[in-house]
Structure formats: structure tokens, C-alpha cells
């Protein structure tokens, strides 16, 4: 159904048809100094306010300002939005804005055929083409034949639009992201006002820059309206049916921070959040550092080890100790996680995973630390392992991590990843009081007290130093059952090892039974996922089920202990496919736990699965179904 553009209708000009699209994928790309991330966030704001469901993914280089014009300095921001539930960032962009040749070079291969490519040809100098690695001008050698190319001198047009502001030539050029944004706004029929309002607030102290950005934005929009470029399409994307309520956009890092705060609140504890800067985990520290009035003390430690040790000290003293890092930092924390296991203190350890091994690719996503979370410590040192499935799910899982840690006196590792941490989606703001509190009751009664006595869940008492009459000493040496005195007794070590192990296993009695996201227990195929693969798996399975294929989706949020009904549930499927952004870690766990013939699907490119990749794997598997 074509929709007539109202603005054009009102002006009485020639009617131009807006092409209908159910969903759209737009990618902005340019130099890391071009303001691409800001452009993306502003388009996201506008998209949310226009009542679309959406998912975004910033993709930027590890270098803060790589040399201009190079391919490794390209920063990109992708948004997928539309009139149905959006579960992924979109496989292939429908629209690419490339602010320089390098941005085109890096992103071209991802585009779907027929995609709209908006080029700032003002930046297509011979020098820039060479820096981007083009030997021929891609506009002339057929490279772009499969696309709808809109070649505009965005640099020049921007300069002309903002010349009156008195900015230097260099400053004028820095407004070109706003020009591009204005053009995209016209393309998708958006209201400029919210972004103008935002710009006025943001640049209140720099009136010249503020005025220039707004002028560039309007000029870009006006160009779309008036230029009548045949290759420049206009789209109509119908708004989504979204559950009613009050919404805000959250990244995974923000949602995780809010979940930790709410968890601490529900436990009745002050949080002590101890961290050391590391990509891509740092945003969690940044968010919490701004929220210290809300029950959190943030501590930027001198290193990863100090961060976890301070968190353990804080938990020992009766606060909720939380530490956060990414893979390499978690490696450094390993010995201290063992200490928390031995001292049986609550502790939440957030791992925002990134592509490894070693330093790997800090800004690229991966989920290859599952086995590290489960097994990486010396000795038999079990911990609870959880994983969040989406940016918004980070809120729920952070709260769950706090609940399990304080109620079971155990370290809990919560796995997020670089994708979840930076990706944003609309989030219906929950009523925080709708879910139950889980207040901590510290032991204060001296009568019959023993530091390592256990209740029926095998959980030892939590005592705050300062409590009269309960002085005791804990540490990393093996403990005598109940008394907690240092013990080298062989039978005691056997017993304590089993107690620690079983205490963590018993958490399975306190978590929900595993359910299927989609499908039925007697379907042929079950796709088992964990973490941020939720979106693409969910979309792929939905698409196949619409064709009548008996494919189910099971998504694990509790990775250890596993849900108590998981083995039974898995045994009902003929085929089990486990897509993971690693070399096959969950599949290894499931095979060893349940002796099921699960097969893995591995992707370790630093980028999320596309729906197409999953569907291709399902094509092959479905042929084997009876």
C-alpha cells in the first residue's frame, strides 16, 4: 500500500509516493570523528518517539581517533525499526549513509541488493579513495551497480547551509552528520522538532554550533523535499503495535545498572560496585557512578584484582559487593572468585564479554567466556552462572543475580556481551514494586552460632562485623565443617567440597523451570541459545514456524545450575541446534550434562548472527526431520 506524503500534498506539489516498508535497516558510517554515533542516537530517539519498535547497534573502532579516512577508523551505527516486533539489528542495511570512501569500503558487502547508498561525494577525493583502498573510483567501475546510489556533495552543501554562522571551515564541516540526519529524516517522514529541541539543550553554551547544526539538519531535510532526485526514495514504515505503557530507551549497560540497583534495594542492602576500566564493560561503571545517591558506592580500583577483592571485602562487611569487567579482566579476578567461593560470601561478577582470546578485539562482541565462567578456577569451585538475552533482559537478570547471590551466599557470574552492553531498545519502565522483595536477614543471635553451619539449602549465615558476640574468622584456607576453623582433615575436605558443590546445585530448586520461547516439546528441532543470540534465533524460528516447520526455540538464562527440567525437555527433540558466538561452549555443556546429540553452530567474527545465517543452518537440519 502506497501512502501519499502529506507534506507534499499540502504544498500542492507533484505527489511523490512513499514506498511502504514493514521494517527498515539504516546504517550510518563515517570517520570516528564524524559524529556517527551521535547521529545514530538522535535517529534512535526520533524512531522511539514515532512509536516504532527498534534495535540498535553501534560498531566503532577501538582506536579513539584513528587516522582520518582509513578503513580501520570507520565508525558505524545501525538501527532496525518497524511496525512489528523488532528482535534483531537487521541482517542487511536497506539504507547506508557513507560519509567518506572508507565507510563505503567497509560497509558495502553488508548491503542488500537494491539498497540505497547515500554518499558524501565531497569527500571522494583521490587521496581519500586511495586511503580507503580503492584503486578505481567505485562510482565509475561498476562496484555500485547493484545499488541505488544517491551521490551528494554533503560536505559542500553543509558548508553552504551553515556559512552564515561564522564558524570556521573546519567547524562547518563537522555539521555534515546533521545534514545527513536531516535527509534521512525526510526519507522516513520524521518530525524534526524533538531533535532540534535536544540540540538546543545540548549546545546551549555554544550557540554558534547549535545554530549551525540545526541549519544543517533543516538543509538536509529541505534537500530531500525539493531536490527531486529520482534515485532518492521516500519510505513509509507503519508504526508498531506496542504494549501500552511508559517507555524509555535503554542499552544493556544501563538496564544492568538499574537491575543491580533494584536488586540491592530489594535485598535491603547498600551496593559497593568495584571496577577497573575495560572495554566494553566500562559503561556500567559510568552509569552507576552517576547514581550514587541511589544506594551505590562506586570504587574505581587500581586493578582488576583489587576491584574484586574490594567487592569481597564489602560483602564481608555486609554490603552487596559487585565487580564488573570483560574477559581479560575476569581472568585476573579468577583467584579471588575462588576466595569468594571458599568464604561463601555473596558476590555479583558481571562479565561483558568481548572477542578473545587475550586482548582480542575489545570493541567486538563474542560469547566465548561461558566455559571460563563455569570452570576457570583452581580446585572445585562452583559458582552460579547467568546470562542476559537482550538489553532489556539485563535488568531482570541483574536483579536475579543479586537475589541468588544474597539468598544462597554464593558468587554469581552474570554474562553480558559487547553487543548487549551497547545495543539499545525501547524498554517499558517496570513497576519496581510489582516483584517481591528479598530482604537479607543478617545473623545476630550468638546462641548456637557457627560460621559454617548450614540451613536446609546448605547456606551458611551472613554476619556483619560489628555484631556483638559473633566474632569469627574466615579465609581461603579449607574450613572445618560448621566451626569454620582451619582444617587439613581429609574427610572434612571431601565433605566441604561436596557441600560447596551441592549448595550451588540446590539453586536449581530456586529458579524457574525452563520454558520454550516458541514451539512445542515434541517439535523436531530445538534451537537452544543463550545470551545475545536471542534476537536472531527468535526471528529465524518465527519465520520457519510460519512455514509450518516444527522448530522450537529454547533460551537459557540460567547456565549453572541448569534448570531442573532441562534434560527432560531436551530429550523430546530429534535435533538440537546450538548457535553460539564461540567455538561450541554451551553445546559442550549440554552434551556432557545430558548425553544429547546436540550440534553446534559457531560464529566468531565479532558480529552477531544474522537471521539468514541461522535460517541456512535450519534449512539443512529441517531436511533431516521425518
Amino acid at each position: 500500500m502506497a501512502v501519499v506524503d502529506k507534506a507534499l500534498e499540502e504544498t500542492g506539489e507533484e505527489e511523490r509516493l512513499r514506498q511502504p516498508l514493514e521494517t527498515a535497516v539504516v546504517r550510518f558510517a563515517g570517520d570516528s570523528g564524524d559524529g556517527v554515533q551521535l547521529t545514530g542516537s538522535l535517529f534512535t530517539l526520533s524512531t522511539a518517539l514515532a512509536h516504532y519498535d527498534l534495535a540498535t547497534f553501534p560498531d566503532f573502532p577501538a582506536e579513539i581517533r584513528a587516522p582520518a579516512g582509513t578503513t580501520y577508523g570507520v565508525s558505524a551505527f545501525q538501527i532496525h525499526f518497524g511496525g512489528r516486533e523488532i528482535r534483531t539489528i537487521g541482517d542487511r542495511p536497506d539504507v547506508l549513509v557513507a560519509l567518506n570512501p572508507a565507510a563505503l569500503k567497509v560497509n558495502l558487502a553488508d548491503l542488500r541488493p537494491g539498497a540505497v547508498v547515500i554518499l558524501d561525494v565531497g569527500s571522494f577525493t583521490e587521496r581519500n579513495l586511495r586511503k580507503a583502498g580503492f584503486t578505481e573510483d567505485p562510482r565509475e567501475d561498476g562496484t555500485l551497480d547493484a545499488y541505488r546510489v544517491v551521490a551528494l556533495d554533503i560536505s559542500g552543501l553543509t558548508k553552504r547551509a551553515v556559512a552564515h554562522t561564522g564558524l570556521t571551515s573546519r567547524e562547518q564541516l563537522r555539521c555534515k552528520n546533521f545534514f545527513a540526519l536531516g535527509l534521512i529524516f525526510w526519507m522516513f517522514d520524521r518530525d524534526l522538532d524533538p531533535v532540534i529541541e535536544w540540540t538546543r539543550e545540548k549546545f546551549a553554551k555554544k550557540p554558534q554550533i547549535c545554530e549551525a547544526n540545526i541549519a544543517a539538519l533543516r538543509a538536509g531535510h529541505a534537500l530531500g523535499e525539493t531536490a527531486e532526485l529520482p534515485q532518492l526514495p521516500a519510505f513509509h514504515v507503519p508504526p508498531a503495535q506496542i504494549a501500552p505503557g511508559l517507555y524509555r530507551a535503554v542499552t544493556g549497560s544501563e538496564a544492568l545498572a538499574f537491575g543491580l540497583l533494584d536488586g540491592a534495594r530489594k535485598a535491603g542492602l547498600q551496593m559497593t560496585f568495584c571496577s577497573y576500566p575495560i572495554t566494553p564493560a566500562s559503561p556500567l561503571l559510568h552509569v552507576l557512578a552517576k547514581l550514587r545517591a541511589y544506594g551505590v558506592t562506586t570504587f574505581q580500583a587500581e586493578d582488576e584484582i583489587a576491584a574484586i577483592c574490594a567487592a569481597i571485602g564489602a560483602s564481608y562487611a555486609g554490603a552487596l559487593g559487585v565487580t564488573s569487567s570483560s574477559g581479560p579482566g575476569i581472568s585476573l579476578k579468577t583467584e579471588a572468585i575462588g576466595l569468594a567461593v571458599m568464604t561463601e560470601l555473596p558476590l555479583v561478577i558481571v562479565n561483558t564479554q568481548r572477542a578473545g582470546p587475550s586482548t582480542g578485539m575489545p570493541t567486538k562482541t563474542e560469547q566465548s567466556d561461558l566455559l571460563q565462567a563455569l570452570y576457570s578456577r583452581n580446585g572445585d569451585a562452583p559458582v552460579v552462572v547467568l546470562a542476559a538475552a537482550s538489553p532489556a533482559d539485563c535488568f531482570e537478570m541483574a536483579r536475579e543475580a543479586v537475589r541468588i547471590a544474597v539468598q544462597h551466599m554464593t558468587p554469581v557470574i552474570l554474562l553480558s556481551d559487547g553487543f548487549l552492553a551497547n545495543a539499545a531498545e525501547p524498554w517499558r519502565i517496570p513497576d519496581l514494586d510489582a516483584s517481591p522483595d528479598f530482604p537479607v536477614r543478617f545473623r545476630t543471635e550468638p546462641e548456637g552460632f557457627a560460621p559454617y553451619a548450614r540451613d536446609d539449602r546448605l547456606v551458611r549465615p551472613w554476619v556483619k562485623p560489628g555484631t556483638p558476640g559473633l566474632q569469627h574468622r574466615i579465609g581461603g584456607l579449607e574450613k572445618q565443617h560448621e566451626t569454620g576453623a582451619v582444617s587439613y582433615d581429609p574427610d572434612n575436605h571431601q565433605r566441604m567440597t561436596e557441600l560447596r558443590w551441592n549448595k550451588v546445585l540446590k539453586v536449581a530448586e530456586d529458579i524457574p523451570e525452563q520454558e520454550l520461547e516458541q514451539g512445542d516439546p515434541d517439535d523436531c528441532i530445538c534451537v537452544v541459545g543463550w545470551g545475545s543470540t536471542y534476537g536472531p534465533i527468535s526471528r529465524a524460528v518465527t519465520t520457519r514456524r510460519r512455514r509450518g516447520e516444527k522448530i522450537a526455540h529454547l533460551h537459557l538464562r540460567h547456565l549453572w545450575p541448569l534448570p531442573r527440567n532441562l534434560g527432560r525437555l531436551l530429550s523430546g527433540f530429534d535435533r538440537i541446534l546450538v548457535p553460539e558466538m564461540n567455538k561450541g561452549q554451551l553445546v559442550h555443556l549440554l552434551r556432557s550434562q545430558y548425553l544429547v546429540p546436540a550440534i553446534g553452530l559457531s560464529k566468531v567474527s565479532g558480529r552477531p548472527f544474522t537471521v539468514t545465517e541461522l535460517e541456512t543452518a535450519l534449512d539443512r537440519l529441517w531436511e533431516e526431520c521425518p
Partner: protein, 339 residues
């Protein structure tokens, strides 16, 4: 505060655990001195926490009847920082050896000192790894022959007090395990608002016996030690006939002989415990110069780290008014979707 109902004696601070240091270990004397200080200050065992890392010294928390946390190697300062962040009211003591605090954990030592967390930190320096059987320590003199350096160490040792001063410690003292003034030095460290750092020269009777004999021996002490007293001239010697003055070229301290008529006394420096430069020069003194024993530097700069953080949080709460998480989530760009 839960003050004890009766005055506790030093022995009341001993735990029920059997002490397992070697017979004759300097640690016993330090334990006694700490118990004495705890009794003197009327420490409430329930409000007191001993935190340690790994090593012989780090067994200390098991032997006092307070709360205790025996951590992992080198990390006691970090654990203790967390304890104070969670509860600034607790009276925290951190105990560790030279390997624990100046080798594997030197980073944490530097940072707890510069942050100035309000606690008392005792570094038992015996210049050897005891618990692992005698290997080379970061404070051992060059040439030390140990199982890990059988041909003699070619490394330069680290000076604990100079390290502490360089890291920004506001209280630095050096003591000897068996000296009678130990308790009063520990008391001064405890009274200091901020990190009170004390290096205790501690004799390891098994692996490094007599390491400090040329300083600590009672017969030599008067000549080999100088005990700085704030505001007093820096004198030493059995007859107090020697003093320290600034060398004419300003390069450091030198000894000046005091004549019977007091000649030269006017050149002797007076100790100023708040002078960083003097503290650095005193801390650096090594034989044949007299070694500085006692409070070398005491320059309080409150508030302590954890108090400053709490104050910031208090101001934030006042600024925001009611800090309601639910309300905070509804601030900023939000939009209503209606059915």
C-alpha cells in the same frame, strides 16, 4: 557502638586458636604489642576487623578475638578497602609481610596509601619468604643467598618506608619487633586519622635469623638507631652526643658530633613529623648511618577516603531530594504508548 561491659585486658584479645608460628619468631612480640594496644584503646572486639593476605604474618587474624579475614596473597589492602567502603565505622587493621605487601601486593599497598583509607597497616619485614621456605624477598639486601638465589641476589632491595612515603602515605613509622616502644608506635599509627603505616623489622628465626641484629641488638641500639621526636633535635648515641644535620651541599643528612659544651647542637635538625622531605631523608638512612626508628612522618589530611566518598553521596542525596529509583527511571526522554 557496643562498648564492652568490662575493661578488657591484653590477653582478652587472644583468640582460642593455637598460635602456630615458629618458637622464637618475632611475630609473637608483635602479637603481644597489638593486644596491648587493643586493651589500651578499649577496642570493642566486635567492631574490630583484622585483614591479611598470605604468608606467616598473614596468619595473624586467627590469633585475635575480633572479626578476621585471611585473604589471598597480596590483596589484603584491597579487601580492607572494601570493608571500609561498606562500613567506615569498623576499626580495621591490615597485616602482611614484605613479600605480601611489597612484591605481589605492592600495587595495592601504593593505592591504599595514596587514597588514605582510615585503618592501621602493619608490614612485618623479615627480608625473606618464610612460609614458602626462605626464598629471596624484595627487601633482601643485594647479594643475599637463598634457595632461589644461590649465587647471590643481583637485585636492589625496596625500602618499605620510602615506598610508603612516595605513594603518599600520611603516616609512616618504623619499629622493631622486640623493642619496648613498639606498642606506643602502633598506638600512634592507630590514632592517625587515615592510613597508619608501620614497617616492623621482624626477625625470622628459621630463614633469616639476625637479619637486623646490627640495628636491633640492645648493646648497639643507641649508636645504630635514631628515634625522631617531633620538635626535638635529631640526636643519637649512648651519650646523645651525635646529631643529624643537613649536608652543606644539601644532598642529604650527615652526622655532626656534639662537643661537651654543646658545640654543634645548633646545627642539628629538629624533627618535624609533618615535613615530607625530612621524612624521606630519615627513611633513607642505612648503616653506617643510624636507622630511623619511630614515627618518621605524621601529617593528617582528613577526611579519609571512605569518609570523603560518604560525604559526596550525602551531598548527592541532598541535591536530588528523595532518591527514588522508580522516579529516576522515569526521568529523561520517555514516551507513553497508549492502547
Amino acid at each position: 557502638m557496643n562498648a564492652p561491659v568490662r575493661t578488657l585486658q591484653p590477653k582478652d584479645y587472644a583468640s582460642d586458636q593455637e598460635v602456630r608460628w615458629c618458637a622464637g619468631c618475632g611475630d609473637y612480640a608483635i602479637l603481644k604489642a597489638v593486644e596491648r594496644v587493643l586493651a589500651e584503646i578499649g577496642a570493642d572486639p566486635a567492631q574490630t576487623v583484622f585483614v591479611s593476605g598470605i604468608g606467616c604474618a598473614a596468619r595473624f587474624p586467627y590469633y585475635v578475638n575480633t572479626y578476621g579475614f585471611h585473604g589471598i596473597h597480596g590483596r589484603a589492602p584491597a579487601i580492607a578497602t572494601g570493608v571500609k567502603l561498606a562500613n567506615p565505622e569498623l576499626d580495621v587493621w591490615v597485616i602482611g609481610g614484605d613479600g605480601d605487601m611489597l612484591s605481589i601486593g605492592s600495587n595495592h599497598l601504593a593505592h591504599i596509601l595514596r587514597r588514605n583509607v582510615d585503618l592501621t597497616l602493619l608490614l612485618f619485614n623479615n627480608e625473606v619468604y618464610g612460609l614458602t621456605k626462605g626464598q629471596l624477598s624484595p627487601t633482601a639486601p643485594s647479594g643475599s643467598r637463598t634457595p632461589s638465589s644461590p649465587l647471590g641476589s643481583v637485585e636492589s632491595p625496596l625500602s618499605a618506608c620510602r615506598f610508603a612515603l612516595a605513594a603518599g602515605a600520611r603516616f609512616v613509622a618504623r619499629a622493631i619487633d622486640t623493642q619496648k616502644e613498639l606498642a606506643s608506635i602502633l598506638r600512634a599509627a592507630h590514632d592517625h586519622p587515615g592510613t597508619g603505616f608501620v614497617e616492623i623489622l621482624q626477625n625470622c628465626i628459621v630463614y633469616n635469623d639476625g637479619a637486623f641484629a646490627d640495628i636491633a641488638d640492645r648493646k648497639l641500639a643507641a649508636e645504630r638507631q635514631i628515634h625522631p621526636v617531633h620538635g626535638e633535635p635529631l640526636l643519637f648515641g649512648a651519650a646523645r652526643d651525635k646529631g643529624l644535620r643537613l649536608a652543606a651541599d644539601g644532598s642529604g643528612l650527615e652526622v655532626v658530633e656534639i662537643g661537651a659544651d654543646g658545640e654543634g647542637l645548633d646545627q642539628v635538625l629538629r624533627h618535624d613529623r609533618t615535613s615530607f622531605n625530612l621524612a624521606m631523608m630519615l627513611a633513607a638512612l642505612e648503616p653506617p648511618m643510624p636507622v630511623a626508628i619511630g614515627v618518621i612522618y605524621d601529617h593528617p589530611t582528613p577526611p579519609s577516603y571512605e569518609r570523603a566518598l560518604r560525604a559526596q553521596e550525602e551531598r548527592e542525596r541532598e541535591r536530588i531530594g528523595e532518591a527514588d529509583l522508580g522516579a529516576m527511571l522515569r526521568k529523561g526522554p520517555v514516551w507513553m504508548v497508549t492502547a
